[in-house]
């Protein structure tokens, strides 16, 4: 069985069926792209997968565990991590603390350890620092470790958000328009980073993106959404040459 199995996932807001009968199965190490015109329901699918919305119908199974009905934080602990279309960092914390916050469930000590700064606290904080710095190095952010997240340039904020998601040790990483607002050089760099993440952490990545260069450059499989329905699914080049997809994007 695949790592992530989603079967006839649907959600209605009042009379509007925002996502209708969405199916996907993603294997470990796979890079999957989710594309579609604006308002097609892509981010809604991310919100369904990560527990922000509760599906009206359908099932989501990650590594054999059903995620429907679980809260967002529980789903994260099951192995889903995500980034957001509009960046959501902890703006007033440093870059390092952003990552350390995401290590919350990996490295633990009690409230009493927190208040008394016991040897256990020191040892685990040290471990957290090491892991966070290692992760920041992968994203070339280690030099900015002590910068307040809000003061980072846009491109680095995007990277930090991905690094923070990875710090939760996910099985599946969901990236919501990671290249939005980036220039072509930054996008190329991002493509490398995404590939490196997959190779280093052996996780599955599902990404929403409008930048076709990025999508065709790294995705191994694509699913196209329009008005909440899947209109094409398969190998990237087959999908983008599909007449229905072209119609959805540019009209008749």
């Amino acid at each position: 069985m695949a790592l992530l199995e989603v079967k006839n996932l649907s959600i209605s807001f009042g009379g509007l069926r925002a996502v209708d009968d969405f199916n996907i199965s993603i294997e470990q190490n796979q890079l999957y792209g989710l594309i579609g015109p604006n308002g097609a329901g892509k981010t809604t699918i991310f919100n369904l997968l990560t527990g922000v919305y509760r599906p009206t119908e359908g099932s989501i199974e990650l590594d054999g565990v059903s995620l429907v009905g679980k809260t967002a934080s529980e789903i994260c602990r099951e192995g889903f991590a995500r980034t957001f279309q509009n960046i959501r960092l902890f703006n007033r914390l440093t870059v390092l603390d952003n990552i350390k916050t995401a290590l919350h469930n990996q490295l633990k000590y009690s409230l009493l350890d927190s208040m008394l700064h016991t040897p256990k606290y020191k040892q685990i904080e040290k471990e957290m620092d090491e892991r966070a710095i290692d992760l920041l190095k992968d994203f070339d952010l280690d030099k900015e470790a002590n910068v307040i997240a809000d003061n980072l340039p846009y491109g680095k904020q995007r990277k930090l958000e991905i690094a923070r998601a990875l710090a939760t040790s996910p099985k599946v990483l969901l990236l919501d328009e990671p290249a939005a607002g980036m220039n072509p050089t930054e996008t190329l760099e991002l493509m490398d980073t995404i590939r490196n993440i997959r190779d280093k952490f052996h996780i599955a990545i599902l990404l929403i993106e409008h930048d076709m260069n990025l999508v065709l450059g790294i995705c191994e499989e694509l699913v196209v959404l329009d008005y909440g329905r899947v209109i094409a699914q398969g190998l990237p080049l087959d999908v983008v040459n599909d007449p229905t997809v072209i119609t959805a994007y540019i009209g008749d």
Binding site: T50, S73, A81, T101, M115, L116, H117, K126, N146
Partner: protein, 328 residues
């Protein structure tokens, strides 16, 4: 353990020890008249109240207008205990502290529940109402609390003669909250303030940490209430009305949201200032208000900015040192 205390903790403890020595010299040397000696405990109480409120307002980012209510619960529950029981003073006081803190903590949990559904100004009104409800309950439960007349003859366990005990309790409170802010729990609380959706998305239960912050804040406010009750000897429900809550909030805002040092300095200044102005007699409250406005303006001036930058610079510097040690 080679590095049991890091630089920053050593510095904090050193400052607290110097503060203690300074106060001892002032008292033993006879530099303080009766009026100022009587301010020592109120200063400690206000520091504890401000630092604990800062946890909710500055770090969790929720406006609470009912902090005096937690103080009143600590004061009343402990005073009812000490007035009605008979046991050796130190034991009785230790139990009183525990009772005050725990009862206030329970009420912190109760008020934490609506916090999960409300934000910002709505929450502020709820906390305000909560404080008034507690005040009314204290007045109406006459058989236990002696109603509007208040409880009297509370043993003076925490007056200026026992300033060492008060100082230690204050210092421990400040250290515990300072430590907590720089930890796993503190980071989670700040994360909730900065972005609750992202906090939930990295596997941290937002509701749990909102309640945690309220309970811890209430616990320490309750302990401050115990010190207050056993300093003045008489407590009335009206002492803990919303004016008192606002006063604590003023200290926190003046000292800077999310700055524990700021809360401490502001608590000292704002407790002493009204006494300094006593000579002005009728104009006292007017001068106090003007002084408040001036301090607030200064707070946003270039001078303060310069000072802040220096502090953040040194903070960054220390932190960087820590990280390098960790990474190597």
């Amino acid at each position: 353990m080679k590095n049991l205390l890091d630089k920053k903790e050593m510095r904090n403890i050193a400052i607290l020890v110097v503060g203690y020595v300074f106060i001892t010299i002032l008292i033993k040397g006879g530099f303080l008249n009766r009026q100022y000696t009587s301010l020592l405990v109120p200063i400690a109480v206000n520091i504890m109240l401000a630092v604990s409120l800062n946890l909710v307002t500055g770090f969790l980012g929720e406006l609470s207008l009912g902090h005096a209510c937690f103080m009143s619960i600590g004061a009343y529950s402990s005073a009812i205990f000490t007035v009605n029981t008979n046991m050796p003073a130190p034991i009785q006081f230790i139990i009183a502290l525990a009772i005050g803190g725990i009862f206030a903590g329970i009420f912190g949990f109760l008020i934490g529940v609506p916090v999960l559904r409300l934000r910002g100004d709505y929450l502020a009104i709820v906390t305000l109402a909560f404080g008034e409800i507690i005040k009314s309950i204290l007045i109406s439960m006459g058989s236990i609390t002696n109603g509007a007349k208040g409880l009297s003859k509370i043993p003076l366990y925490s007056n200026y003669k026992n300033y060492t005990v008060v100082y230690i309790i204050m210092a421990v409170t400040v250290l515990m909250i300072t430590n907590m802010v720089k930890s796993r729990d503190g980071r989670a609380i700040c994360a909730v303030r900065d972005n609750d959706i992202a906090t939930e998305s990295i596997g941290i239960k937002v509701s749990a940490f909102k309640i945690k912050a309220f309970v811890i804040s209430a616990f320490f406010a309750g302990i401050a209430g115990v010190l207050y009750a056993h300093n003045v000897g008489i407590i009335k429900p009206t002492t803990f009305d919303y004016n008192q809550s606002i006063e604590i909030l003023v200290i926190v805002v003046l000292g800077g949201m999310g700055s524990i040092q700021g809360s401490i300095i502001a608590a000292i200044i704002l407790t002493i200032l009204p006494e300094l102005l006593r000579g002005a007699d009728n104009y006292r409250m007017l001068l106090y208000s003007v002084a408040l406005i001036l301090i607030m303006i200064l707070n946003h001036s270039k001078i303060k900015e310069g000072l802040m930058e220096n502090r953040t610079l040194s903070k960054l510097f220390q932190k960087r040192g820590g990280v390098q040690n960790g990474a190597s």
